[in-house]
Symmetry: C2
Subunit: 665 residues, 2 copies
C-alpha cells in the first residue's frame, strides 16, 4: 500500500489512490461496494480496530432490502433478520388502563417484495464485507486514523490529478480498541448460549489482538468520501457545518431478551404512559430493542450532558414504570447505550467534485425512525456508483453534482419526520384518557404521512442529466407508474428460456450497467412484433438512419458493455419462444452462448404465487403496446418513452456516459 | 486425536471414539450433522485430500430441500441453485422432425414449498460443512484411509464397549490427491471468469498443499457408518455383497455452457433421436448437464470396460448427432466424466446394531433419475439421528433396526424406477415416428408413476416402534392426511406472538427433539378451549391421573428437554392472544422468557401469499376439533390421535425414548 519515501528516516510512506473512503460503517461499505464492482483503485480506512458485532442500528427499510437483493445478499438478511410489518400503539384508555390500538399495517405493504426488517448493523457489515470480497481484493484497513488534510482546489477540474493529500496514522491497539465497550454496555454477552458473534465473524474477533506497528502514510487521492459519522473529521476539514435544532434529546436504548407479560412484547409498537412513551422493536435471536427517552437538553450548551449518569438499571426502571402494570425484566442484555442527538443537517453533502460526505457525517437525528442506517447506506450507494463510474472514465463527471441534489432534500425530509415523530416520545402531558387516544391517532398519522418516504418507496429525485422528468408526479402516458426519479417498483417475472420466476430486484443486479428495459408488449400481435423488430434493427445498428447506444460508450474495465438490455414481454409464456425475439435482445456470446437471462415474461407461474403476471398493470403499461425505459445502475428510472423514441433515449445516455473515442481511419 | 501408545516406536497412536464415519460425501456429512447437533464423540474421515468442488451429483429433490430447510441452510441452496420444475420430451414427429412434447409439470407441484433444484454436490458439501461447524468442532479429517478392520461381535450387546477396531493411515499428498482429475475432466476450469470454486471454498483449496505426515492410528469405536461409495471398503469388511443386474451401462456426462440453437437448452428434458436419447439438465452458473448413454456391457465380466476410450470429444459428437439438426457446441466444460454402473443393492444396510452402511455403499444405479445424492443424504440423515440419540443414551437402541427397515425398501424402489427410466435411454429401436411419440408418453408415465417416491413426498416407512400405523394408506380420522410413516406435509403459519409467517420446514428444526404437535383447533369455541386446557393439565403434570411425557426422558446433552411442544390453532390470528393458551404450551424460561416460538396460527397473512390459512385442510384436520401428533426428529410422523389420547401417545414415546432414572428418595 505505498512505498517508502526515499531518504526519509521515519516510517512514513507515500502512496496514491483514486478514491479514499474514510469510515467503514454502512455508508462507507456501500460506497466501497461500488469501488469493488467497478474495479476502482480505492482504499477504505476505519479508526476502529474491529467491526461492530452487536447493537448499533438495526432497522432495514424495503428500499434498502431491494438494494441488498440487487447486490446478492438479501437471502442472508431474510434468513437471520426479523420481519416487523404491523405496528401497535398502546395508550391508556379513559380508565388509565393500557390498551392496544392496532395493529396498523401499511396499505402499500405489497408494493415491495421486501418488508421492514430488523437485524443488527454488525451482520449487515459482515454481508457487505463478504460481497466486496467476492468482487475484488479491496479490504477495510482498520485501526487507521486520518490526521491531516490538504486540498489543492485549483487542480479540481483536471480529473487526472491528485489534489487531496491525507496523512494516515496506524493506531496502537489501545487507541484502536478503546475500552468504551465496557462503559457503553458490552456487545459480547452471550445470547442463546452462542454469544452475540456468529461463526462467520469469529475471524474478525481474532484480528483484535493482531500486532500493529504505529506508522504514518501520506496518501494522495483524486476523490475522498467522508463516511465518518456524526463527528465527521472529513466534514470538519472542509468547513461544512451541521445546522439545525438547538435542543438535543437524550435516549437510552437496550437490546434484551425480555421477561415480561406484556402481550405485544414481540410486536412492533409504542407504549405511552403518564411517565413517557417507549418504542418496542422485536429483533433477531429473541432480542427486543427498547428506545427510552430520558430528557431534552440544550444542544448548544458548552457542557455536554453527562452520559455516564444513565445506567442500564435506570433505563430498566424507566421501562418498568411505563409498562406498568405489565411486568418487565431481563437476564440477557446483548447491548445497550445512551446517547444525545439533535436534528441537524449539513447545508451541502459535497465540496466541489472531489470531496463527498455521506451518512451521519451530514445528517443526525433520533434513532427512533428506524431510518439512520438506511439513509446512510443509500447515500453511500448513490455517491458510490456515480463516483466509481466517473473514476474509471465511464461516466460524465457532471453527474457527481446530482449526489447532493438527490440526497440533500431527503435528509431535510428525514429531519422533518424525526422532529414530529420523536417529539411524540418526549412530551408526556397528554398521555391519559381521550388525549392519549388522540396521541395514538396522531402517531399513526405521522407514520402514514412519511411512510412512502421512510420505506424508500418514493425518493423524489429531481430532474437532472440523470433524471428526465415528464411531470413531477407521474410517468409518461406509455408507463403511468414509471416515474423518472423513482426506483422501479419490483415485479416477479418468468424467464422465457427457462420458465423460472425471479424478482426484478435480483434480475436488475447492481453491476454498474445502465439498462434499457424493453417492455415488448404482446409480440403475438403482428403490428407489435414489427415495432419490436424495428427496435431490434435500431439497437443492432442495422438501421443506419439512427445511432444505437450499444457499444457507443466506454465500458467499466473488465465489462463488455456499458448498457444492458432486458426485454419483458406480456404474451403468455407458452405461446412465445425465446428465439422469436430479435438477436440483439438476446445476444450471442461465442463463449457464454445466447443471452438466456435477457428475455422475460410477465405471466403467472403455477408454483409461485408471487409471480402473478400483473407487472404491466403495476407499472401502468399497456399490455399490447409496451414501452421502453432506461434504468440507472441503482435501478432508479432515468428515462421513459415509447419503443420508437430511440433518438431521445440516446440523447439521455449521451448526457451521462462517456463516448468511446472515434477510431482513427 | 488420540495418544501415542507407550513404548511403541512407530507413529501409530491409539484412540477411542463413539462413532466413526468413513466417507465425507453427502451421506457421511448428513450423518456427521447429527453427531454435531447431539454432541456425540465422533470422527469423520475421507480418503480424498480435498472436498469436491464441481461436477458429481447435482439433483436435489423436494424432500431433501425440506431437510436442508430444517437444518438451516436452504436459503443458500435457493440463492445459488437452479429450479427445474417442468420437463419436455423431444421426439421426432412422423416426418422425423424433432418436436417438443410438453411441458409436463407435476400435478403435486405445490405439495412441498421446495421444488426440484440443481446445484453441484461440492456446494452442498460446503453448506453441510458450515452447518456442522456451527454446532460443534467436528471436522472432516481428509486424506485418511481405513486399512484394517476388526469387529468383536460378542461385545455387540453392551453399548458401553468398543467392539470395532479400525486402523487408519494418513495418506501422502500424492495418494490423497491423485491426478485422476486431469484424465476424468478437470473440475477447475473457469466458468463466468470466476472459476468453478466460490470464495467460501477458497480456503479448502489451499489445504491441498498442506504438509502431511504419513502415520497410522488405531481407532476403537462403538459404532461405524460406512458412507464410502459404490466400492465401499466398509461394506467389504462385513461381507455384505451388492446384488442386482448382470448388465451395466456406460454413461458420459458433461457440465458445459452450451452454444446451441436448440430451443429448450435451458429447460429440463430429454431428446430422442434414432441415434439415442439424452437427458438435458439446466444448472447454476449458466451450466447445462447432459447425460449421454454410451453402451451396455456385461457387469459380471472380469474385464471392465476401458473408460479411457470415452473422451470429451466423443461425448460431444454423440450429443451433436442426437440434437441434429440443432447445433451443439461449447467452449467451457466445467466437468465431465464417463462411468459404468448397474442397478445393485445390498441385501442389508447394517450388520447388527453397530455397523451401518449408507448411500452408494449400498445402492448403485444410473445417475439419470437425479436421485443418487438425495437417497444417500436421506440414508445418512436417517441413521444419523437414530445413532446419535442412541449414542448419547437418549433413545432406545432398538430403533437402530428401523434404519434398514425404512431405507432398504426405498433402495429397491429406486432400482425399479431406474431400470425402467434408464432403459428408455439405452434402447433406440422405436425412436422414429409414431413409436417415438409413444416413447414420450411412456417416459411421462414412468416419471409420473415414481414421482411421489422420487420427490420424497411419500416414503412408505413401515410400522415399527417409531411408526404407529393406523392403516397403510391414510391417517386416523382426526387427521386424514397425516399418515404415520410419512413426512409431515409443509404448511406456512403465522406466529401468534409476532404475526410473522414461517414454513413448518423451518419451524420444525432438525435439532434432535421429538415434537408433540398440538393442533388446538378453534380455541374461541368454549368446549374446544376446555379440551386444550385439559391437555395442558396433562402435559404440565397437574393432572395426576396420567403421566406426562415432558421431563420424563433423558435429554440430549446440553438440551433442556427431549420433547418439544408446538401448538398450531385454527382461530383467526387477531381474535386470539398468546397468553390465552395454557402456560405449558408456551413455557416460561427464567432467562429466555416465554416460548414465543411455540404458538402458531393457521391463518392467512396479507403480505405473504404462501401463508393461506389452509393448513388444517391440507392435513385433513377438522378446524374446530383439531388433533395431536408426534413428529420424529426427522419430521416423519410417528403417532397421530385426538387431544385426549394422551396415554397412547406416552406409550409411543416410552417405546422409543429412554426414561430418566427415578430419583432415589
Amino acid at each position: 500500500m505505498g512505498q517508502t519515501v526515499a531518504g526519509e528516516k521515519s516510517q512514513t510512506v507515500e502512496s496514491q489512490t483514486d478514491v479514499l473512503i474514510i469510515g467503514a460503517g454502512p455508508a462507507g461499505l456501500m460506497a466501497a461496494y461500488w469501488m469493488a464492482v467497478c474495479g476502482v483503485k480505492a482504499r477504505i480506512i476505519d479508526k476502529r480496530g474491529m467491526k461492530v458485532f452487536t447493537g448499533q442500528a438495526d432497522g432495514l427499510r424495503p428500499r434498502t432490502l431491494e438494494l441488498f437483493d440487487s447486490m446478492g445478499f438479501q437471502h442472508r438478511v431474510i434468513h437471520e433478520g426479523h420481519v416487523a410489518v404491523e405496528a401497535n400503539f398502546w395508550v391508556p384508555d379513559e380508565n388509565g388502563k393500557l390498551t392496544r390500538q392496532g395493529p396498523h399495517c401499511s396499505p402499500k405493504i405489497n408494493e415491495s417484495n421486501h418488508h421492514n426488517m430488523l437485524l443488527n448493523q454488525g451482520r449487515i457489515e459482515r454481508f457487505l464485507l463478504d460481497t466486496i470480497r467476492k468482487h475484488s481484493d479491496l479490504e477495510v484497513e482498520r485501526g487507521i486514523i486520518a490526521e491531516s488534510f490538504e486540498y489543492d482546489e485549483k487542480l479540481g477540474n483536471d480529473l487526472d490529478t491528485y489534489p487531496i493529500t491525507v496523512k494516515l496514522r496506524t493506531l496502537s491497539d489501545e487507541e484502536a480498541n478503546p475500552s468504551h465497550l465496557s462503559t457503553e454496555g458490552s456487545g459480547l454477552q452471550p445470547v442463546n448460549g452462542q454469544g452475540g458473534v456468529l461463526p462467520d465473524d469469529w475471524e474478525e474477533l481474532i484480528q483484535k489482538s493482531r500486532f500493529r506497528q504505529t506508522n504514518t502514510e501520506i496518501v494522495k487521492a483524486k476523490f475522498i468520501i467522508g463516511c465518518d459519522g456524526a463527528h465527521s473529521w472529513t466534514r470538519k476539514q472542509v468547513n461544512i457545518p451541521l445546522e439545525g435544532s438547538s435542543t438535543e434529546n437524550i435516549w437510552g436504548v437496550i437490546d434484551i431478551v425480555p421477561l415480561s407479560n406484556f402481550p405485544d412484547m414481540r410486536r412492533l409498537g409504542t407504549i405511552t404512559h403518564s411517565s413517557g412513551t417507549i418504542l418496542v422493536i422485536p429483533r433477531e435471536r429473541k432480542l427486543v430493542r427498547l428506545y427510552v427517552p430520558v430528557q431534552t437538553v440544550d444542544g448548544n450548551s458548552s457542557t455536554r450532558f453527562d452520559r455516564s449518569s444513565i445506567t442500564l438499571a435506570k433505563i430498566k426502571s424507566r421501562v418498568q414504570a411505563i409498562m406498568s402494570p405489565y411486568t418487565f425484566d431481563f437476564q440477557i442484555c446483548d447491548w445497550w447505550t445512551a446517547y444525545q442527538v439533535g436534528q441537524r443537517v449539513a447545508p451541502a453533502f459535497n465540496k466541489g467534485n472531489r470531496i463527498f460526505l455521506a451518512g451521519d457525517a451530514v445528517h443526525t437525528h433520533s434513532p427512533k425512525v428506524g431510518l439512520g442506517m438506511n439513509m446512510s447506506m443509500q447515500d453511500g450507494f448513490n455517491i458510490g456508483w456515480k463516483l466509481a463510474m466517473v473514476a474509471v472514465g465511464a461516466a460524465n463527471p457532471d453527474i457527481l453534482g446530482t449526489y447532493n441534489a438527490e440526497r440533500h432534500p431527503l435528509a431535510e425530509m428525514l429531519l422533518e419526520f424525526d422532529r414530529l415523530w420523536s417529539g411524540e416520545f418526549m412530551e408526556t402531558t397528554d398521555a391519559d384518557g381521550p388525549a392519549a387516544l388522540d396521541k395514538a391517532d396522531r402517531m399513526v398519522h405521522v407514520v402514514e404521512k412519511y411512510m412512502d418516504f421512510a420505506d424508500g418507496l418514493r425518493t423524489y429525485y429531481p430532474a437532472s442529466s440523470l433524471v428526465w422528468k415528464v411531470s413531477e408526479e407521474e410517468g409518461p402516458e406509455a408507463a403511468r407508474n414509471l416515474v423518472p426519479g423513482e426506483r422501479i417498483s419490483p415485479i416477479k417475472l418468468r424467464n422465457q428460456a427457462e420458465g423460472n420466476s425471479k424478482w426484478t430486484t435480483r434480475l436488475l443486479e447492481s453491476d454498474g450497467l445502465f439498462r434499457i428495459i424493453v417492455l415488448a408488449g404482446d409480440v403475438r400481435v403482428e403490428e407489435q412484433k414489427k415495432r419490436v423488430e424495428a427496435l431490434g434493427r435500431f439497437l443492432s445498428g442495422e438501421d443506419k438512419t439512427k445511432v444505437s447506444p450499444l457499444h457507443r460508450y466506454v465500458p467499466i474495465p473488465g465489462k463488455k458493455d456499458q448498457i444492458g438490455v432486458v426485454t419483458i414481454h406480456s404474451a403468455p409464456w407458452k405461446e412465445v419462444e425465446f428465439f422469436d425475439f430479435p438477436d440483439i435482445l438476446r445476444p450471442f456470446d461465442p463463449v457464454m452462448g445466447w443471452g438466456y437471462d435477457d428475455i422475460w415474461c410477465d405471466n403467472s407461474c403455477t408454483w409461485d404465487p408471487h409471480c402473478g403476471g400483473q407487472g404491466y398493470e403495476k407499472w401502468g403499461v399497456d399490455r399490447t403496446r409496451g414501452a421502453m425505459l432506461v434504468l440507472r445502475p441503482d435501478q432508479y428510472i432515468g428515462w421513459v418513452g415509447e419503443l420508437e423514441e430511440v433518438e431521445d433515449m440516446t440523447d439521455y445516455l449521451d448526457g451521462v456516459l462517456v463516448k468511446m473515442p472515434t477510431p482513427e481511419i
